[in-house]
Assembly symmetry: C2
Homo-oligomer: 335 residues x 2
């Protein structure tokens, strides 16, 4: 492969001069600069990144930490979008993305110490204070997107951008109310699963309260089959309470709900309206298509990267930024 020394030889200058020319240093004559650039071009010169990174102690690469996302359809769809959007957004800034599937924190620490990345984006809940402290101590920029690190109680030490789930739960419920539904059941995650479900439920309760309605809450696993079972087992409760709408706090749950209602010949949305949460693309395949709350994941990524770069470029300014982004309602046929 061609190096700056090869160019230097051909141009009859020192390799330092070549380096300056290619880096558009302002202490070089336009004439030699252009001559050198032309030669570099002809030779198809490309920097040896490893040399550059060693010298500058900067990699122009951001690590993206995700959970093990494969093997389950919902997270595959979500993380494929996330990874794609992140790569795309960082590429616009001339940064590379390195995907790290989270296994343990030691691997993350090793990754940082090995100087492969300049910063980290976490879309991962299982991060402890230990790692946060390590990064802060070393002035290593990072941000949490979408998820909050659940082992941590003090969020004043981390930047994050995530969905405003309270608002999401609120608009989902309000939408149902505005469409005339009165007895609205919400199906949320089992307790302790994740704070975001608590927030969605609080949004739900706020809308319920504002309209003097009665609240109905089921706690359940987040998956399709168990939600199907849940409805099955509680069909009498649903009938006895005249439940006429269900706010399932994930789309997958909502699909399980719809399948179960179909099984009992309950028409959606005529007898019972159903709204989901997430806007997974899957929702478009089912009949009726699913009304849902869309998580603003692209906005989260773009905003998150913006904040991260402020941190990268300005290490002194350690201001913590926490941002909630409002989700939006996607109206389809199930309500």
């Amino acid at each position: 492969m061609v190096t700056i020394k090869d160019i230097a030889k051909i141009a009859g200058v020192s390799h330092a001069t070549v380096s300056r020319a290619l880096n558009d240093s302002n202490e070089i004559s336009l004439k030699t600069k252009e001559k050198i650039k032309k030669i570099a071009d002809e030779l198809g010169f490309v920097y040896n990144v490893n040399a550059k990174r060693l010298n500058q102690n900067k990699t122009n690469t951001i690590g993206l930490v995700t959970p093990k996302f494969f093997g389950e359809i919902k997270s595959e769809i979500f993380f494929a979008s996330l990874i794609g959007k992140t790569i795309e957004t960082l590429k616009l800034k001339d940064y590379k993305t390195y995907i790290e599937i989270f296994e343990n924190e030691n691997e993350i620490i090793t990754l940082i110490k090995s100087r492969q990345i300049d910063a980290l984006i976490f879309v991962e809940k299982e991060i402890s204070n230990n790692l946060i402290k390590f990064m802060n101590k070393n002035n290593f920029p990072f941000i949490f997107l979408h998820y909050l690190p659940e082992k941590i109680n003090n969020f004043n030490l981390i930047n994050y951008v995530r969905t405003d789930h309270f608002y999401g739960g609120y608009i989902a419920t309000k939408h149902l109310i505005e469409n005339g539904y009165k007895n609205i059941l919400t199906i949320t995650a089992n307790k302790g699963i994740s704070i975001e479900y608590t927030e969605r439920t609080e949004g739900y309760l706020q809308a319920i309260k504002e309209n003097n309605l009665k609240s109905f809450i089921f706690y359940n696993d987040l998956n399709f089959h168990s939600t199907f079972d849940l409805i099955n087992e509680n069909i009498d409760y649903i009938k006895n309470n005249n439940i006429d709408a269900i706010f399932a706090q994930t789309d997958i749950m909502a699909l399980g709900v719809i399948k179960a209602l179909k099984y009992f010949n309950i028409k959606v949305p005529k007898n019972i309206g159903v709204i989901g949460y997430d806007n997974i693309e899957l929702g478009e395949f089912f009949a009726p298509t699913l009304t849902t709350v869309e998580q603003p994941i692209n906005k989260i990524i773009i905003k998150g990267i913006e904040i991260l770069f402020k941190n990268i470029n300005n290490k002194t300014n350690n201001k913590i930024t926490n941002i909630l982004i409002k989700p939006t309602l996607i109206l389809r046929d199930s309500t």
Copy 2:
């Protein structure tokens, strides 16, 4: 960050000795080796990979080239699995994975020249002879998985591992025949889309021929809605020819078929059996669940990486390896 010089200072040896110790060189005494390792451990030493890569001209990183996979549910599911499995498999060999979303070949050439990766895995069709030649000339190891590069006519210059689609089309059709279906329609891709659909169709024709049946072939777009429309528009043809089974050459198409048949109150599998191809996880969500041909993507990845590593470790041996892996039938409710 701690360097080998820091360790050297504490251990009272030269940094060359530290390097030998940490690399388990055999020209070092056990005693100093252990002493040095202990110190390194205590200091939490991790190599600066950039220095190591520069020195060794080796990155222990493999590039994975994919199309732009996000924005469409089917490819999101497929590539999320693929990326995950690749990262996992390479990690076992102590290699990192770098994801490159294909835009143009110059970016790939730059990636290679910049010394960020030791080899490339292509799961991408749009590669030309130009790039192949460049890699071969530079003795840069690469392999094609799953797809064949469609702009190329001479496959003797490239390693690849892919599904045996002829066999896949054959077993799908044979399965239908063995279940008593007689008039089997296959829906394949529009001509020129990809060689794999031609292969599936040839497998179909082989089974049809062996059983003296009549062949019925529709050519269509690969997506859900247009396949739904296709069935809609041709429902008379289907009825008139007593079509009693449909081999849709992708699962997404098969789901479109089932939706359309439902619309006409045609029972699956009672009136018409339906088999898909791919085994996307989505197939499990629909009723009836989808019988399909599973692409052996995990086997392809594992085998492909195995071949790639032979090439990496043994650059002299430029033997080309082409492997077809047989897919398997997944029996569910739609046949």
